[in-house]
């Protein structure tokens, strides 16, 4: 067997081709994933290897009011932002699917918030939310709707809602453009058939568009939930978790504890605590996909 034929063997060549990707992912993804979980069960500090302390970190975090608040914030942030992203994103997708002047340009422009570095657009929001010079407050005051400027990021609940608004702004284009791709695969003949049967616009949406779109909605929203749940940049730039930890997400809190505070073990435990939620989201997506297979006449996997 010549050398070149040896390299044409499926398994040898497959392993060879896979080597660069596999090596990088094993060292910088699989290993840290394991290391992170292990660190969560140790008392490691920056510059000091930790010892196994079992569930102590998790017990501590469970009793820690700030950690519990961050869990609440993360769930609230994810839930509210995702619902709005879905509704507004679907609406925008439906609008973009209609005949509009400058359609291609519109579609391109709409995606801009998703393209631009989040940290930098978050800075623009920080400026828009400024307590003294916010142009939003200026406009509302000029219209006579408010007397004093709004302290967008200074009040706990206002800060939560303001950061959520920024997150929605960034996420809607992604949902809209991916759902638009789904809408364009729905055959127009279905709408014609519905129209012949006398269906109203609303009935067409409810009985044709939505069922046909369900599979892609499941996938898009899983990604959206995943990104939102693990969000870091927006909060870091806008509030750094304040005021009074009201906007700390699990990701920002774990950064604060592990990197700024040096408690690697505790931070890693917080990050590990996010995993079950992520798994739940992925499982949800999996069942969404299965439903697609079933709808298209494929066998259940």
């Amino acid at each position: 067997m010549s050398v070149s034929r040896f390299f044409d063997n499926r398994n040898t060549l497959g392993a060879l081709f896979l080597l660069p990707a596999a090596a990088l992912l094993l060292v910088f993804l699989t290993y840290p994933l394991g290391l992170g979980t292990w660190l969560g069960f140790t008392n490691a500090k920056i510059g000091r290897a930790g010892e196994w302390i079992g569930l102590e970190n998790f017990q501590f975090l469970f009793g820690d009011a700030v950690a519990r608040l961050s869990l609440f914030n993360t769930l609230f942030y994810t839930l509210v932002a995702s619902v709005f992203k879905f509704v507004l994103g679907l609406w925008l997708a439906l609008l973009l699917n209609k005949s509009l002047p400058f359609k291609a340009v519109l579609r391109a422009v709409v995606l801009l918030p998703f393209i631009v570095p989040t940290a930098l657009s978050a800075l623009a929001f920080w400026w828009l939310y400024d307590a003294q010079f916010s142009v939003l407050s200026w406009t509302l005051a000029k219209m006579g709707l408010i007397d004093s400027y709004i302290n967008f990021l200074g009040d706990p609940w206002l800060a939560r809602l303001s950061t959520i608004a920024a997150n929605i702004w960034r996420g809607v284009p992604f949902v809209a453009i991916t759902l638009l791709a789904g809408l364009q695969t729905i055959s127009p003949s279905l709408y014609e058939a519905a129209a012949l049967d006398g269906a109203t616009e609303w009935q067409k949406f409810w009985h044709v568009t939505l069922p046909m779109l369900t599979p892609i909605i499941a996938v898009v929203m899983t990604f959206s939930v995943l990104f939102t749940f693990t969000d870091f940049q927006l909060i870091y730039v806008l509030t750094r978790g304040g005021p009074l930890n009201a906007t700390h997400l699990m990701a920002t809190l774990s950064f604060q504890r592990a990197i700024l505070g040096g408690a690697l073990g505790e931070g890693a435990a917080l990050a590990t605590a996010m995993v079950p939620f992520l798994l739940a989201a992925i499982t949800f997506s999996y069942f969404g996909l299965q439903r697609r297979a079933w709808q298209q006449g494929g066998a259940d996997k």
Partner: protein, 290 residues
């Protein structure tokens, strides 16, 4: 696709004009204004002199006397050019390295069908779902151990963790659409697998390569949490991290230069995107769809 759109618009004549304004044009306009206003505001602020920025008397939506002072400060009195250079180096190197690794991996999984190819494909997809916010703490420990802390290498080596899964997944889809027959013909003519990959598959997969490349470049340009954690000195920072951490001095916010920095840092990806919109969109939807 254009056929389908024309068919769809075929029934729109049933709608009256006022109705179209209420259900279509006005909502679309509101969406546009909200989605684009932060960029307008970024640009306004970047060219506005400081006196106008803090004045409540003048109309804030316009500039009376535009100035380049903020850009001047940014380019000549901060490390901004250095951050820009770092971001370019890190994004370009990690994108090309990831693309090369992904082409090989995707070809192996999709076409060589070695033992365990299916499971490997699934593993790649799962790797794609691992978010950086649960990896950065252990990765920081590894980066320090390898002596890479505060170097560009720390970023060049860690960015592929999210780029490779994404690119491989996307390219697998593209390779799947290339007919097997082409490869079989080449095999019969005595071509090696390497020749097939370079001379047949890659030329056919150029759109996929562009999609993956553009998307990967944007992802690395926008990356924040790794760059924030693995780099500490100003000379090694990337644009997003540099602007957020270095330009904010104490309690006095220099909004003009902050927004100028945000604008300049957003421009390269926005320009690149405007040239390759279709590729970008097909990359984004392709990666979600499979």
């Amino acid at each position: 696709m254009s056929d389908k759109l024309e068919e769809r618009s075929g029934m729109d004549y049933l709608q009256t004009l006022p109705r179209r304004w209420i259900t279509l044009y006005i909502p679309m306009l509101v969406f546009l204004v909200v989605l684009l206003f932060p960029f307008y505001w970024m640009a306004m602020t970047a060219f506005k002199p400081n006196e106008e920025l803090v004045s409540r008397a003048t109309n804030p939506f316009w500039i009376v006397s535009p100035t380049l002072a903020h850009f001047e400060k940014l380019l000549f009195r901060t490390d901004y050019p250095q951050w820009m250079w770092n971001t370019i180096v890190v994004s370009v190197v990690s994108t090309f390295a990831s693309l090369a690794a992904s082409v090989l991996a995707a070809y192996a999984i999709e076409r060589l069908r070695f033992r365990g190819a299916k499971q490997t494909g699934l593993a790649i997809f799962l790797a794609y779902l691992v978010p950086p916010s649960i990896l950065f703490i252990p990765l920081a420990a590894i980066v320090v151990q390898l002596g890479l802390f505060d170097t560009r290498w720390a970023l060049i080596l860690t960015y592929p963790t999210f780029l490779i899964p994404f690119c491989t997944w996307l390219l697998m889809g593209y390779f799947r659409s290339i007919p097997f027959e082409l490869e079989e013909c080449a095999l019969i003519d005595g071509a090696t697998r390497w020749q097939i990959l370079v001379k047949i598959i890659l030329p056919l997969a150029v759109p996929g390569l562009i999609s993956a490349g553009i998307f990967a470049f944007t992802l690395s340009w926008n990356e924040f949490i790794y760059a924030l954690t693995f780099v500490s000195s100003s000379e090694t920072k990337t644009v997003p991290v540099g602007v957020v951490t270095e330009l904010v001095e104490g309690d006095v916010y220099h909004w003009g230069s902050l927004m100028a920095g945000a604008l300049l840092g957003s421009l390269p990806v926005a320009v690149l995107y405007s040239f390759f919109v279709e590729y970008y969109v097909s990359g984004m939807t392709g990666a979600v769809k499979e």
